[in-house]
């Protein structure tokens, strides 16, 4: 299996461990990821779009146009990119006016694009029947003592016309993955609630409260770790968890792992290779639960 890999800006910098763990598990699963050469920012949901909509669409389209030349489907681990790229596909397929404007800009740099490249979320690939079966075979350590709250957030499942990974209100596919690696799933209120996304920068107070509600509802439902499938969500729930604790004067201390890191642990991959030392809320306390020989 071979895909054009679009890491997205955060998986490449602040959430580098997401990319590392993605690559590590894909290697085990014989999924070849070919990085889109010279990829650029996807347009970042509303960040660029609100300022210059056409420009933002053209940015996303450039990535897709390069991928078209690679003649492969694209896969991204970032839900925000997954949304932005698929939104661009939809606009270019349905809105002839925008399509011709964007293509005039693309023509300037030697590309053209009409919305034909298929964009998958990494979770989608891992949860296809064939790969899931393979995951089952490759599991070395059953993570039986882990109660995992799978966090879907927004752009894996919403809006369903663009992001259709699973049911928008009651998604369960990540939970299937959790059970495949031997852990128990946790059902909780916050699994599709928004973490605040980019409000973390513009309105931190508000974003902290949104993330707090998610973390607490997972914890109160018995989770001992939370799994994300998006670097933006991971940043808000993990890197900012200390800020949440001090802002609201509470103790949460809930390790937040990229779902790829969990799968990696089950494969018996060294935590260091999965970048677990980079997680802000130390996942060390769950290591004994995974029964690995971690130093």
């Amino acid at each position: 299996m071979k895909y054009a890999f679009y890491p997205g800006c955060s998986s490449h910098s602040t959430e580098k461990e997401y990319e590392d763990s993605t690559k590590a598990i894909c290697k085990v699963l014989d999924i070849e990821l070919v990085e889109v050469p010279d990829w650029n920012c996807c347009g970042a949901i509303d960040a660029v779009y609100s300022f210059k909509p056409l420009y933002s669409i053209a940015l996303a389209a450039r990535n897709l146009a390069i991928t078209k030349k690679m003649q492969m489907d694209m896969v991204t681990p970032c839900s925000a990119c997954y949304f932005t790229l698929n939104r661009t596909n939809k606009i270019l397929r349905e809105d002839a006016g925008t399509k011709s404007k964007v293509n005039e800009a693309l023509a300037n740099i030697g590309f053209n694009y009409n919305g034909s490249v298929r964009v998958w979320h990494l979770a989608d690939i891992l949860l296809s029947d064939i790969v899931l079966q393979k995951i089952k075979e490759k599991v070395k350590i059953q993570l039986t003592n882990l109660n995992v709250a799978s966090y879907y957030g927004c752009y894996l499942v919403r809006p369903p016309k663009i992001c259709n990974f699973d049911d928008p209100e009651h998604p369960t596919r990540l939970d299937n993955l959790v059970e495949t690696i031997g852990a128990s799933k946790v059902d909780y209120y916050g699994k599709t609630r928004c973490c605040g996304a980019l409000l973390g920068i513009t309105d931190e107070e508000l974003a902290l409260k949104m993330s707090k509600d998610i973390l607490l509802s997972a914890k109160n439902s018995g989770a001992n770790c939370l799994a994300t499938a998006c670097p933006v969500c991971h940043f808000n729930l993990d890197a900012r968890q200390k800020d949440i604790e001090s802002r609201f004067d509470i103790k949460i201390n809930l390790p937040v792992l990229h779902f790829t890191q969990l799968v990696g642990l089950a494969f018996g991959i060294e935590p260091k290779q999965l970048g677990l030392q980079r997680n802000c809320v130390s996942p060390r306390k769950i290591y004994p639960l995974t029964m690995t020989s971690v130093s």
Binding site: E15, L59, R158, A239
Partner: protein
């Protein structure tokens, strides 16, 4: 004489009301042409959008109210509301709306309108979009440290301290890439130039 004057005032009033009605109608028409505004007239005020919105407690008007206000042509109130900046674009409302009102996309379009027409009240929030754009335009990719530095409020000691703590936390774990991304960016300008041209058409 006074009779004449009354007549004139009445006439002026009618004209005034006429102008106001027209500007309201124009606003509604304008919104309907924006991405996200296509279905606003179909809203049945059911409240599903407001009921599920995770940021409503921080808005001055709920999504349902904003749609009603747009449909009444209340341009100034809508464009100066905090709602358009507070929406986190989570798409919960759009997913549940029985009439397919695409509220979050409309909020992005309204942000764009207020920025373009210089109607912004809360500069910090609109500056975010500008800075983000500048960073992406410079490097071709997003580069967190540069955006955060642009965003720092140098006069607010508490916030500086708070951000320094976050920065340190990230730095200790090797999460803060101080080096800017290096990709070929000569193409960025030509995309910008062309799309700017098209945008203003």
């Amino acid at each position: 004489m006074s009779h004449e004057k009354d007549k004139l005032t009445a006439e002026a009033k009618t004209i005034q009301i006429g102008v106001r009605k027209k500007s309201r109608r124009d606003f509604i028409k304008e919104v309907m042409k924006m991405p996200g505004g296509e279905k606003i007239l179909e809203c049945i005020q059911c409240g599903s959008c407001a009921g599920g919105c995770p940021t409503m407690f921080a808005m001055d008007y709920s999504p349902m109210q904003i749609i009603k206000m747009i449909n009444l042509g209340m341009k100034e109130k809508v464009l100066s509301s905090s709602t358009i900046w507070v929406c986190s674009a989570c798409y919960t409302c759009a997913t549940r709306c029985p009439r397919n009102v695409n509220f979050p996309t409309l909020m992005m379009s309204l942000r764009n309108k207020t920025i373009r027409e210089n109607l912004v009240k809360d500069c910090a929030k609109s500056d975010f979009h500008k800075y983000f754009f500048e960073v992406v335009n410079k490097y071709g990719r997003f580069h967190e440290p540069e955006l955060l530095v642009k965003f720092l409020d140098m006069t607010n000691f508490d916030s500086l301290l708070h951000n320094a703590r976050l920065g340190l936390r990230l730095f200790k774990r090797g999460k803060l890439q101080l080096r800017a991304p290096k990709i070929e960016t000569s193409w960025v300008c030509s995309i910008l130039e062309k799309t700017d041209q098209k945008e203003s058409q």
